[in-house]
Amino acid sequence: MPTITWKTSETESITANVPVGITLMEAAVRNNVPRVWGECGGCLSCATCHVRPVGEWFGRLGFPNDMEDDMLDFTEVEREDDSRLSCQIKVTEEFDGLVLVVPE
């Protein structure tokens, strides 16, 4: 199982082993990562699973499609160029070591 880290503040983070095949939103919810609510269950209705992949990880996770891109305009913390909705990304073996910032 790949190991994934969510940086939740300057000094705090949550690291967990995550099963392949679930989404990064589901992984965050299971591990009680603050501010990743995933209220719509991954149906692109709520924009409450906003994360920013650190550095080169952004390109390695693929890019948002049009609907995700539109929905990213409604995140609580304003989007950046590397913002993603984590419900749209499925975990693969290649994600081992992934670091995500949870914007605050």
């Binding site: 719509c40 149906c43 209705s45 609907m67």
Partner: protein
Amino acid sequence: MTIWKPNDDGNADLSSYDSFVTGVPHNTFARMRKEAPLEWSEWDGGEGFWNVSRHKDILALNRNYGLLSSARGIRMEDQTYEEYLARRTFQETDPPEHTRVRLKVARAFSKSTISRFEDQIRQICIKILGRTLSAGEFDATQDIARQLPMRMLGRILGLPEQDLEWLVTKGDALIANTDPDFTDHVLDQMTSDEFRMMPFNSPAGAELYTYARQLMREREQRGDTDGILHMMLQPDESGSVISDREFRNFFCLLVAAGNDTTRYSIAAAIHALCHQPHLLCQLRKSGSEIWETATDEFIRWASPTMHFRRTATRDFEMHGKLVRANQKILLWFVSGNRDEEAFNNPFNIDLYRSPNRHLAFGQGGPHICLGIWLARLEVKVLLQELVKRVATIEANGEIAYLRSNFIGGIKSLPVKITAL
């Protein structure tokens, strides 16, 4: 002291609006969660339906819009295809069509847009409470809980103050169309099918249609381009616009849905404060951090939207039962929110409950409440201002529940307070 105890025998008829007039039949839901998590109900007013009562199952099914469609109706009542087309809003669609409409209105209801209303909400609350609390005795649903969402609806849609009382009365007639206190055209006692093409099969739908049309005409003449209504009418990127009928249905949805659910959340919270004075103490003595969890706990406790219905798109098996294509399935959020497997002591109010993965807003699926941030903010600010002003609050007579198996709420809540 308990806030309230369910008094049903564990076998309430969930198809009957009358099963809910003394409160939610929670003994029935508790039995179903334990013994029959997927149970069939017969209904003498139409086709029977399946009931889903466990938190886990509701979450799993709510997101599976390919299996359980919203595009065949979202309440227990059956609709013909013709009626469905005439009355539908984006609530009665599935992704990706649903997502396209949702994106049009998402900005108006996003957390960052809504948070800008906080000061306005607070001013309205201060006004409502200032006027009401001095009486000492009053109906907390009518005089407090009903007032705030009605006034905020007016602000957000840009409607004239003098129209609000009329609009909310009509909104009530739509959504409480099974309660004779709110409509002369009670759904299960209607003798005519004259209004079947109108929202909620209600003549109030026709009146709101006319109002919405006039409103937009006047706005166009003035060149007014503010607000959600204008946003709805703009073409999307592909150039498509919503039809006149879709617009009017959406207007009815805003008037109905934006009102009563927040009202009944506030009412349930005040009712709880009446019967568990320690909650009032906790809220008063705690710092601001308690509001991060207390608001959602009150909303879980209230669960005003008790269910939404879906329709199976194909046969499937669950808990050893066979659900057939085209059968109706009711997702009972109100039951999921009392599920012992999902919450510690679900029948207790724990103002610090965290995480609190309740389903009161239809969480876990594409149709999660559009007004979620507005509702939370209204409930929070109203209770914050109330707590600042009352020393004690107690029940002052019989309460009355809405006659509905769809929306659950205390429609009359006599209370007595002493001011701080």
